[in-house]
Symmetry: C2
Subunit: 284 residues, 2 copies
């Protein structure tokens, strides 16, 4: 790959994440920064704001020019987007995506990817419960985690190149792992947490309950302001792992409930102390 300053970079999809990547990549001064989005309004706002150089509604016009492509379309649209556009990419292009579930995507890509393209699946652990291009500036990459799930066929120098860009955009830890490991762990750190937050709001009909809030309820339910179609998609796209994680959590909940019902302070205290120690050992 050429230095980023000589690359034409394309971002497919100008939602919150596409917008945030446009801003972060723009600071690395690529030769040209392009976007395509069926919503001309979002792409137009990015153009008017000086965030990108050119905007397209037809992806084909953009993809043929790009050395590096960031796919920031909705996860469910990704397979269709790729499947129908293999002929559109520039030869030698490096492609990456930001989808929150990786197993299914990896399989689709292994099957249909053109030989002269390199596609490295990725998952930046940044975002917001609020979507849309207008929220892009609020999406802070600094110090955030980034997961990469490379394909066997990925070229080592392209992986290093992408890692370097990710660091330069401000991300913190980069973890390279398998799609399966990603999906298992993300089911815990992200999807299960959203299911819990949703369940917590779901079980209380009294909207005046927040008069009794001291921060805990607010912390636990911030992410309950979720984008329903996207999260339904993420939950169902990683269903088996997520169900296993819900059951794992329900088991611990039941055990702690049992200790409370039992009424003995010593065993309950010991379990809570172990929780505190484990959480302290979990860096970050």
């Amino acid at each position: 790959m050429k230095p980023i300053e000589e690359c034409t970079v394309g971002i497919a999809g100008m939602g919150i994440m596409g917008g945030a990547f446009a801003m972060a990549l723009g600071k690395l001064a690529p030769a040209r920064l392009l976007t395509c989005d069926p919503d001309a309004g979002a792409a137009g706002a990015a153009l008017a704001g000086g965030v990108i150089h050119e905007a397209f509604t037809d992806p084909a016009e953009m993809l043929g020019r790009c050395d590096l492509v960031y796919l920031c379309v909705n996860p469910s649209a990704l397979p269709g987007f790729m499947g129908g556009r293999m002929g559109d990419f520039k030869s030698g292009a490096l492609i990456t995506d930001i989808a929150g579930v990786k197993g299914n995507i990896a399989k689709i890509l292994e099957a249909g990817l053109r030989d002269d393209l390199d596609y490295i699946p990725g998952h930046p652990m940044a975002g917001s419960e609020k979507g849309g291009y207008a929220q892009a500036r609020r999406c802070d990459f600094r110090g955030k985690n980034y997961i990469l799930t490379p394909l066997k066929r990925n070229r080592a120098e392209n992986l290093s190149y992408l890692e370097s860009l990710i660091r330069r955009m401000g991300f913190g830890r980069i973890t390279v792992t398998t799609p399966e490991d990603h999906d298992r762990k993300i089911a815990f750190t992200s999807q299960l947490c959203h299911v819990i937050a949703a369940s917590l709001v779901d079980c209380e009909a009294d909207t005046g309950i927040t008069r009794f809030g001291g921060g805990s309820f607010e912390d636990l339910t911030r992410i309950a302001m979720l984008n329903a179609p996207m999260w339904a998609e993420l939950f169902l796209g990683n269903r088996d792992e997520l169900l296993a994680r819900i059951d794992q959590f329900a088991e611990s909940l039941g055990a702690i409930r049992g200790l409370i019902a039992g009424g003995g302070a010593a065993a309950l205290e010991a379990r809570l102390r172990a929780v505190r120690e484990r959480r302290a050992a979990m860096a970050g």
Copy 2:
């Protein structure tokens, strides 16, 4: 009650909350601000820092001088503290506390309170997962909720007086309710949330999991850094209400699990959308 500028104010217990109340009440310029704590170190630090005027290890020396007493001792120590010291209080004193469970305390007080004293039970919804006087400066009262559960015998002018002080210390909404209503709602907004956070950490042994964190897990488990003896006490002190809330939550969790297992996007989306709307309707 005299204006606060003419009052001698006593704070029993110089932990994070006692310290934070000393700092907040100190700004209202009481004539004298005293504290008592069996730990001479904490009280000494408050004295050395100019936060209070005098420190005692024996509560009796302090209580006899105070027009207003803030009881910031551990909830479990409160009945013992009050029961053994009825003779120590100054006649006409206004007393309040900060314990997170109110039903049991209200009953104990109704039984043994001296006729010339007025005790208004309260619960400031502020604090931190970190305890101790050294953390007091990090305990921010601004805009926080405050719950009062007055006794039938409380004098209306004392209730107004305390409410006025609470507002002047920076708190936001003050809610006046019964101990039973307090305990039922606090079981949800506070104790259930801590049980959930603890269960979430409890069910995952891999401390490296936070490499896959994107903020949700961090938000949900901040309060898992809990003070084990205090929270075991709060859980057991409000056991029946808390168990009912855990079951209520588990039912919603099971229902959402069922929708995910079922695999249909429409019903899952509809439920998540309803969650989002309800959370939005919950002010604060």
